[in-house]
């Protein structure tokens, strides 16, 4: 039994590219059906085009890198929350009695929670993306936050991108240091306790307060991230500062 027009329209609206033989026969059956099918084809082409977003540059490399990053095995675990991990395993090196101060309004429960969460997402992949950035490239990322970066910092940045932070957008960088690649995240609107340190997944991190906002330096356990404290502290400064 062949489809009536109402059934045909319903099928056309639900699955216009259906290969069901009865539907395909109906498409060609009478002018009324053919016209409806042609209109649906035009709409479908527009719909497909509208939904066709490009994979961002570097994203595929970042995905492929996952299987070559040793820490990805642990990073892929069931996303342990930093606070419970710290309490359970005692891996927190030092969080002051007052704890890390924060001004959360964007969903993470704490800065450390954000830090572990974000680093597990993005850290290993970005570390693997080598590439020299010009000073202008780097500076452009900071301008929107009304801060500037010193040449001491810009000349060692190999990867830079915008990233979410606990209080809005920030900047995620990978720096080329003599100890190897180190991650730095600039958080323009987040307050932290200066020089707080923490550990997760074989990584160590140090928080620092800046003149405008804050940052975190993340490196492996073998790297001397505290040596970068003054570089970062003195390198990200308000745009209209005299320094």
């Amino acid at each position: 039994m062949s489809m009536n027009f109402s059934e045909f329209i319903r099928q056309l609206g639900a699955e216009p590219r259906s290969q069901d033989p009865e539907f395909l026969r109906a498409r060609q059956s009478v002018p009324e059906f053919r016209r409806a099918a042609e209109e649906a084809d035009i709409f479908e082409e527009k719909l497909t085009r509208a939904m066709d977003l490009q994979l961002p540059e570097g994203m595929m490399d970042s995905i492929l890198q996952i299987s070559h990053t040793p820490s990805s095995d642990t990073a892929a675990a069931a996303r342990p929350r930093w606070r419970s991990l710290a309490l359970a395993a005692g891996v927190l090196i030092a969080v002051g009695a007052a704890g890390i101060s924060w001004n959360m309004n964007r969903g993470w429960d704490s800065v450390d929670d954000y830090l572990v969460d974000h680093y597990q997402h993005d850290g290993p992949g970005l570390l693997a993306l080598a590439g020299e950035k010009t000073s202008e490239d780097v500076q452009a990322f900071f301008t929107r936050f009304n801060v500037k970066a010193s040449s001491e910092l810009t000349q060692i940045v190999s990867v830079i991108k915008y990233c979410p932070t606990p209080d809005g957008k920030g900047v995620h960088m990978v720096l080329n240091t003599k100890d190897g690649p180190v991650t730095v995240i600039y958080m323009p609107a987040t307050e932290v306790s200066d020089r707080e340190t923490l550990e997760f997944d074989g990584m160590q991190a140090m928080l620092l307060t800046l003149e405008k906002g804050s940052a975190v330096i993340i490196g492996s356990e073998s790297q001397s991230i505290s040596a970068l404290y003054s570089v970062i502290h003195d390198s990200i400064i308000p745009e209209f500062s005299n320094a």
């Binding site: 609206g13 939904m51 995905i63 990073a75 996303r79 969903g107």
Partner: protein, 175 residues
Amino acid sequence: MVNESDRHARFNELAKNYGADLYRYAMWICGNDALAKDLVQETYLRAWKALDKLNDIAAAKSWMITILRREYARTFERKVPKFTDVETVVIPEDSELEPDDRAEIKLLRESIMELAPKYREPLLLQVVLGHSCQEISDQLGISKSAVMTQLFRAREQLKSRLRKDGVTANVHELF
């Protein structure tokens, strides 16, 4: 037991075959570039970890989507904010299109984001990932008949929005 080399090859195949589709899917369900990238990255991290559990490579696409959807649900369990920073939404400029077509595509994109999730998600699975109604039914855990109704209504709402907004008249307003 799969050796390490085969494991890497299998993972690379998953990345190359589905990376772009997963990003599109993530982008359309969350509407934010940074979150979409995170969702895709996390999906592949989890896939790498659980790769040995994927017995049937033909089921890989649905498996990956399931991981991504779970991760997206977890995102909201963690109360990660819904971003509204439109600057971060990457939608390529269709420079080869005529202005009228561009306006129509732009309106369609806005309209897709405005669809209720119950209409948008089946549409994404069908248009972006090429799922059949039965596959969507399996993925979303609803009947095939319900899937067909939602797809039909999704398209009707999009067409209605295009008709209502009179695309041609709004070209200059939009660009």
